[in-house]
């Protein structure tokens, strides 16, 4: 009987242990995962946002084997469960999505504004905006064309002052000596509409043109909620400076007035060496900052074949003093070649998303690099390289209220590309 008792106790212990373990395992999905989105052909990640209801919305492009281009919007729970997916492409034309934001509707609730390009030919693009209902169904569409020659949309911003949208992008202008890229903005005013309560009307607005051979690549635009005069909007781009005839690219910021005209522009940082180029990639408006217009900019500093993550923090127009960085510019010191892709604010610092360049059998392969830095952008942990043998191009990083980290990427699986979303814990790891 003793043996039977021992066996029963052992069985009871093992069963209880396994039940306890099962409940822990089920929680893991809420803590970390890797998910892929896509269908036949190739899909490339564009943008994702954390929504007011706590879910995620993901925008990605799709190109079939026959070269047909359209885009999809997917709503995802933070546990990685797909809620809905909408194909928003127009089958009669090629479209390439660029940006998605959540916007309030007149009837309550939130919809989405998606900025995209209508591709007529390799050099003939038109910028357009699509408005959807909260469940992602197409509601309205507006064109925000400039020259119509080579317009390429970059971002869409909600303007709370009038409930409209501001679209920013680049356009190609033809000059006597050729053509060059300029950054432009367009204002879309709302019109009451019973269908979705929002309608956008095109109103080309302003542009930045340094003249000469200067080219610009716009990245983002933010509304200055506190000021509406000459400092109504903050515009961010990369430029090779105002007509100085060099190829020295730098970060550039511009304040815009209510009419969308540049009232004040600043080259950041002010260095001119021809062989040192700084390409802006992402701008984070600091959340919950006592300074209303505090921005952190991240991009890549390139010297020859060497790429380093470059960051800079500004109280708009003024570089925030950072004595440890020459010229108030900081290169995040990570051994190897990394491009700065994105930033996400966490208490006491940031998660920095970088694109690692790995040499594999003579080829450069892009992978995800993650590093946690403090408020001075000093690394406080080793970089986390999430390696694949194929290209994984990181697009954007977000972190939620629980400091869980989300990274959106385009991942190659052999010869096909798919959208990848990963969730990591607050240590940036796939475990608890």
């Amino acid at each position: 009987m003793k043996i039977k008792s021992c066996y029963f106790i052992l069985w009871l212990l093992l069963t209880a242990t396994s039940c306890f373990e099962d409940s822990q395992l089920k929680q893991d999905q809420q803590n970390f995962f890797v998910r892929y989105l896509g269908s036949d052909g190739n899909q490339t990640a564009v943008d994702f946002e954390l929504l007011e209801d706590g879910n995620l919305v993901i925008l990605y492009n799709s190109e079939t084997e026959n070269g047909e281009k359209d885009f999809y919007l997917t709503k995802f729970s933070q546990d990685g469960i797909e809620i809905w997916t909408q194909n928003l492409g127009n089958p009669s034309r090629a479209e390439v999505a660029k940006d998605v934001i959540e916007i309030p509707g007149n009837a309550g609730g939130y919809g989405f504004a998606i900025g995209f390009d209508v591709v007529s030919s390799p050099t003939s693009n038109a910028m357009a905006v699509l408005i959807t209902s909260p469940d992602g169904n197409k509601a309205k569409e507006a064109v925000a064309a400039f020259t119509g020659f080579d317009d390429r949309l970059k971002s869409v911003t909600y303007n709370p002052s009038d409930g409209g949208l501001i679209v920013t992008g680049n356009t190609r202008i033809v000059t006597q000596t050729g053509s060059r890229i300029q950054s432009v903005i367009s204002r879309l005013r709302p019109i009451a509409d019973s269908n979705f309560g929002f309608y956008a009307q095109n109103e080309p607005w302003g542009r930045v043109d340094f003249g000469g051979g200067a080219e610009e690549d716009v990245i983002a635009l933010f509304v200055n909620n506190n000021v509406t005069g000459n400092d109504a909007f903050h515009w961010f781009m990369t430029t090779n400076e105002a007509g100085n005839g060099t190829n020295d690219f730098n970060f550039y910021t511009a304040a815009l007035d209510n009419a969308g005209l540049v009232s004040n522009g600043t080259i950041l940082p002010n260095e001119t060496a021809d062989d040192t180029n700084d390409y802006l990639n992402f701008v984070l408006k600091e959340p919950d900052s006592p300074t209303p217009n505090l921005y952190s900019l991240i991009g890549t500093n390139t010297i020859g074949n060497s790429s380093k993550v470059q960051v800079i923090k500004i109280d708009f127009g003024n570089i925030v003093s950072n004595p440890s960085a020459p010229q108030n510019r900081r290169l995040i010191n990570i051994p190897g070649n990394y491009k700065g892709i994105g930033l996400s604010k966490i208490p006491g610092g940031y998660w920095v998303l970088a694109e690692k360049q790995v040499e594999t059998v003579g080829e450069l392969v892009a992978n995800i690099g993650l590093v946690k830095v403090n408020d001075l952008f000093e690394p406080i942990d080793n970089v986390r390289d999430l390696q694949s043998e194929f290209n994984v191009n990181p697009i954007k990083i977000l972190s939620n209220a629980n400091q869980k980290v989300f990274v959106l990427s385009t991942a190659a699986l052999g010869n096909q590309q798919k959208v990848q979303i990963i969730k990591l814990n607050r240590q940036g790891q796939f475990s608890e």
Binding site: Y7, E21, F33, R35, L386, Q387, E389, F390
Partner: protein, 385 residues
């Protein structure tokens, strides 16, 4: 002259000498050349009541050898009976033990053997305390998914059985005639298959994993019948598996639909991306199962052949949590397919079924019981009277 023996001694000595004279004559007639003849003569002597001559006659021949097991059994039965008649309990018991060494399953029965031999037999047993066995068989394993760690929403996963095999050996401890416990060590090789379809619409993941383990099952068995040629039994127990190696072959089939001129799908073009990964570091080294078993033992001479079916229910998740998506330090592409092949293992336990056949060698141990089991004999005698 001093004569140390009394009158009673002399009276007893006379018949003894008479008997010795007879036996001396008979003993002279056997030279142990033919064990069967020796046995026949000894039996005749026993029948005639010449009990003293029997041990001398046969013991010498047994020492010389040449007796078969069956003949030896008859010799020892004769000796035990003789010593019981001669009231030499010590020798009767000693030769009964020898009898059990020759035939561990010998048991005197009422009606066939004298009552005193039956009583004596109830004081002894030769049932084995331990047996050893060797076994081999096939194994079928099926993962039981605890958490589906899918990478693509709405894909269809289907696990299926893979073929496995095992071999090993162990020891059985017989607690009683019916109850026993055994522990064995086996090498267990098992595999399962996974097919994931509706993956990016038309793609498919195909995965085969083979797990090699050292398996240590501890089983408590109950024999359903006693003393028959066929002995069915059931059992239950706990298995501990120590993983020594795990290999995963995984492929991603990139399938693109093909259409004819009428836009009807006529098939697929397919490109395969496959990898062979060592995944032991991504599995828990120890796996625990509870199992139930049912089998049949077939008695052959003094040994057994057996066939049994065992079903094991996995109690724990076998997939390591901290190497689910990467190797803990980044996604090591030589072991982790989450980034290169879009596959993440589910959390699962392993349930398996085994069909085993084997051979049991009982280690019989003749011994005297602490308390004789004579109640039944007495009851039957009372019934007869």
């Amino acid at each position: 002259m001093y004569w140390p023996f009394g009158r009673r001694f002399l009276i007893g000595l006379i018949p003894a000498l008479v008997m010795l004279g007879f036996s001396g004559k008979t003993f002279a007639q056997t030279d142990c050349a033919d064990p069967e003849v020796t046995l026949k003569i000894a039996s005749e002597e026993f029948e005639k009541g010449h009990f003293f001559s029997v041990p001398e006659m046969v013991i010498a021949c047994v020492t010389k050898g040449g007796f078969s097991r069956q003949q030896l059994e008859r010799v020892y039965v004769l000796l035990v009976q003789t010593y019981l008649i001669l009231e030499d309990q010590a020798n009767a018991e000693a030769y009964y033990l020898k009898l059990l060494q020759v035939n561990p399953e010998y048991e005197a029965q009422l009606g066939r053997e004298p009552v005193d031999l039956v009583y004596l037999s109830k004081r002894f047993t030769a049932t084995p305390i331990f047996s050893w066995y060797a076994t081999a068989g096939t194994s079928f394993v099926l993962p039981k998914v605890i958490v589906n760690n899918f990478t693509v929403n709405n894909s269809n996963q289907k696990y299926s059985l893979g073929f496995g095999w095992q071999f090993g050996g162990g020891i059985i401890w017989h607690q009683s005639d019916r109850l026993s416990a055994d522990v064995s060590v086996s090498f267990l090789s098992q595999s399962y298959l996974l097919k994931e379809s509706n993956f990016f619409n038309n793609d498919e993941i195909q995965l085969t994993e083979r797990l090699n383990s050292l398996s240590i099952p501890v089983t408590f068995s109950y024999m359903l019948t006693k003393n028959k040629k066929y002995k069915p039994y059931v059992g239950t127990g706990v298995t501990i598996n120590y993983l020594v190696g795990a290999n995963q072959n995984i492929s991603l089939q990139n399938r693109t639909p093909l259409f004819d001129t009428n836009n009807d799908q006529v098939g697929f073009t397919s490109q395969q991306l496959s990898r062979n990964l060592q995944v032991r570091d991504r599995r828990e080294p120890l796996n625990f199962q509870i199992h139930v078993t049912a089998g049949l033992k077939y008695k052959y001479k003094l040994n057994y052949f057996f066939a049994e079916v065992t079903y094991g229910l996995g109690l724990i998740n076998v997939v390591k949590r901290n190497t689910l998506i990467d190797n803990g330090k980044g996604n090591n592409t030589s072991t982790v397919p989450s980034f290169s092949l879009a596959h993440v293992d589910d959390y699962f336990s392993l349930n398996n079924a085994q069909i085993n056949m084997g051979f049991i060698k009982p280690l019989y141990k003749p011994r005297k019981l602490k308390s004789a089991k004579t109640k039944r004999v007495t009851r039957e005698l009372n019934k007869q009277s």
